[in-house]
Amino acid sequence: MKKIIAIIRPDKFEMVKNALEEIGCHGMTVKDVKGRGRQLGITENYRGRDYRIDLLPKTELEIVTNEANVENIIQTIVKTAKTGDIGDGKIFISPVEDVVRIRTGERGENAI
């Protein structure tokens, strides 16, 4: 089992969510987050003065899935969330030891 954490542009979230639904990936946890990559944020101007905004708003998707689905999910997110400009985000994949469905007590892949 793997956990996929995708940091994407907030305005791409609806498209990514719909695309994942089309490939059968329904479960996800979503958070509004702030962050920055190599470009170190953007510049905003208030009353004629420039201010660098270090942390930009992003949307984080957390998906736990079977190994077999990982590549398909990653490719779907990349294809849907990509604009080609700086700030498209990142995807992190990590192993998951176990999963428990609280309602039934099921464990492992059956609980995903």
Partner: protein, 410 residues
Amino acid sequence: MDPILNSGDTAWMLISTALVILMTIPGVALFYGGLIRRENVLNTMFLSFVTFAIVSVLWFVYGYDLAFGTDIWGILGSLTNPFFGGVLETKTLSTYASTIPTGLYAIFQMTFAAITVALISGAVVERMKFSAWLAFVPVWFTLVYVPVAHWMWGGGWLAKLGALDFAGGIVVHLTSGIAALALVLLLGVRKDAKLLPHHLGYSIMGAGLLWFGWFGFNAGSAGSAGNLAVSAMIVTNVSAAVGMLAWMLMDKIKTGKPTMLGALSGAIAGLASITPAAGYVNITAAIIIGFVASILAYTAVSWLKPRLGYDDALDVFGIHGVCGITGAIAIGIFASPLINSATTGGILFGNFHLIGVQLLAIIVVGIYAFIMTFVIAKIIDKIIGLRVDEKHEIQGLDINQHEESGYRLS
């Protein structure tokens, strides 16, 4: 003919009074509240609300009499009716607006006093102790606002010299702007001295309410529902609109993109600058006043402030101070007896006396407001301290000064 209460005038002045109340709470509170860090939103709005409450009481205890009572040597009015005693009971008509009740004129003027003090708070947000502000408001109101209001409006020495201030360019915007400058010089720079609005939506609503309420402020200053009120309303709106467009133009030239906060700031600049002149000038003058004031305010906040290094958090001096001065000078140039027979006109009508007294009023009131504010704040600093602890400033004043949070996730 004896003065008679006019219900049309009274109705208009009741509405104007309510409009000016709307400017402070919630207008200024929202405008300022949106411009600061989210950890200070309640404290910032509270400063406006509590100021309104304090001034509302003191105005009727002694403020109105000292500002508008019988003149003593041109310096102050006399305290003949403390606690407004007997005025409401006798149902007298105002000596300043002969067709409306004295009480109505008094509460209309009360709203000016309240918003003047509330405006100052924008400079000191995010670092001033709430207790210090509670001490500052009554003292500054008594020692600065009340005498200056008497000098200009209550038959004091500047009024006798012929200085004009229709709705408060000198009494309201200059005094608050200069006081803001004196206060921030004592308070010092914030740890995080940025203007990064946490909720521009609040500021948009606040600025909208200010623009709306300003019709009561300026057109109400006619004291009656007649041609002068109509004229004041039109030039107020024109100046605000031009001020807004001028700031957008400056934004476009300087950065390539017009900004919403810039547009709001320009509108406030146009409104503040036309305020002293609203009852004396025509539309052409209003367009020039709004345009010039907006450019000057833009220069003050984007160029002058960073170079001088003072931390006027929400640009009270840069916008209100600069625009109050601009408008007060503009009277000396553009004032027209065709708009208001109370004046023989400014430079454009061949009179140079008016510009002289306007400059005198600006300089004297500016110096007086600066020195008095500095002394008042210095004494408060010695007694209870002006500034919050550094760790409290970093954490935000809502929690530390009020044990409340503006925003909660659950």
